[in-house]
């Protein structure tokens, strides 16, 4: 679990997770595209994320694809959120999501 917290304690790595959350299964080139980070830095951050099991990679043909793996984050939540609190929290996060989302037809 230490590795997960260390991996998450860096804004650049959280940004990489955000990008995978927006679009799962990206190559290193996809992930570097439009980022103000060197390719080497992205590679290093991805290795840390992979070691924490927050990112998982698969080979697809000649490409190596990166996927966000939310299972360890789920386990952190399970550790401190008691089951009877979950319904309320889910309702609150849904409320926050609804209130914060840009105007759009629903």
């Amino acid at each position: 679990m230490d590795e997960v917290f260390k991996a998450l304690a860096d804004a650049s790595r959280r940004l990489l997770l955000d990008r995978l959350h927006a679009r799962n299964g990206q190559t290193l080139n996809d992930l570097c595209d439009g980022l103000a980070m060197t390719r080497q830095a992205v590679t290093k951050h991805l290795a840390i994320l992979e070691a924490a099991n927050l990112v998982t990679t698969i080979r697809h043909g000649r490409e190596k694809l990166h996927y966000l793996n939310p299972v360890p984050i789920h386990q952190i939540g399970e550790r401190w959120i008691r089951k009877f609190e979950r319904g309320k929290l889910a309702a609150l996060s849904e409320l926050k999501r609804q209130l914060e989302k840009p105007d759009e037809s629903t």
Binding site: N53, Y67, V71, I73, H74, K83, G87
Partner: protein
């Protein structure tokens, strides 16, 4: 082969045989899978069903690959009207022993574009896999209410 829509990995302190049993035994799945019993004879081409406590079948598909205790693949789609535009998507489980741990990799692919299964399932799997890990490692599942992750039954 299409690119998987998502890939989940969890490391569980167990053996491949126990994990295989946990993935294929209805009595066992009921304890960590929102009360769902998986029903199949686990032969390639056979039917695969998710059966709830009241006997209703929410999801159904076919067994695609069975190689105990290494690889298991099946398709399924929710049968309710909400998912009428969805197609059965392929879930593949790979079990790899690493010392005292087993690495469980789940890939899921072949969702209908614009369907509703993908967003629903991407909320469901992390909860199911966490609960499975807890049950195998501690003997206690996590008991996550379906409503908490907004799954439509």
């Amino acid at each position: 082969m299409s690119q998987p829509d998502f890939v989940y990995v969890t490391y569980i302190e167990t053996t491949p045989d126990k994990l295989w049993h946990a993935l294929t035994d209805g009595d066992f799945t009921e304890r960590y899978w929102f009360g769902v019993r998986l029903r199949s004879d686990w032969k390639v081409g056979s039917s695969f069903e998710m059966v709830h406590g009241d006997g209703t079948v929410s999801d159904a598909g076919k067994i695609v690959e069975v190689d105990p205790p290494r690889r298991l693949a099946y398709t399924f789609v929710n049968l309710s009207d909400t998912y009428r535009n969805d197609l059965p998507a392929l879930a593949t489980f790979e079990l790899e022993p690493h010392g005292k741990l087993v690495k469980l990799t789940l890939t899921h692919e072949g969702f209908a574009p614009g369907g509703k299964m993908l967003p629903a399932i991407s909320r469901g799997w992390p909860a199911i896999l966490s609960s499975l890990k807890s049950l195998l490692e501690t003997g206690r599942p996590l008991e996550i209410p379906r409503a908490a992750i907004k799954l439509e039954s």
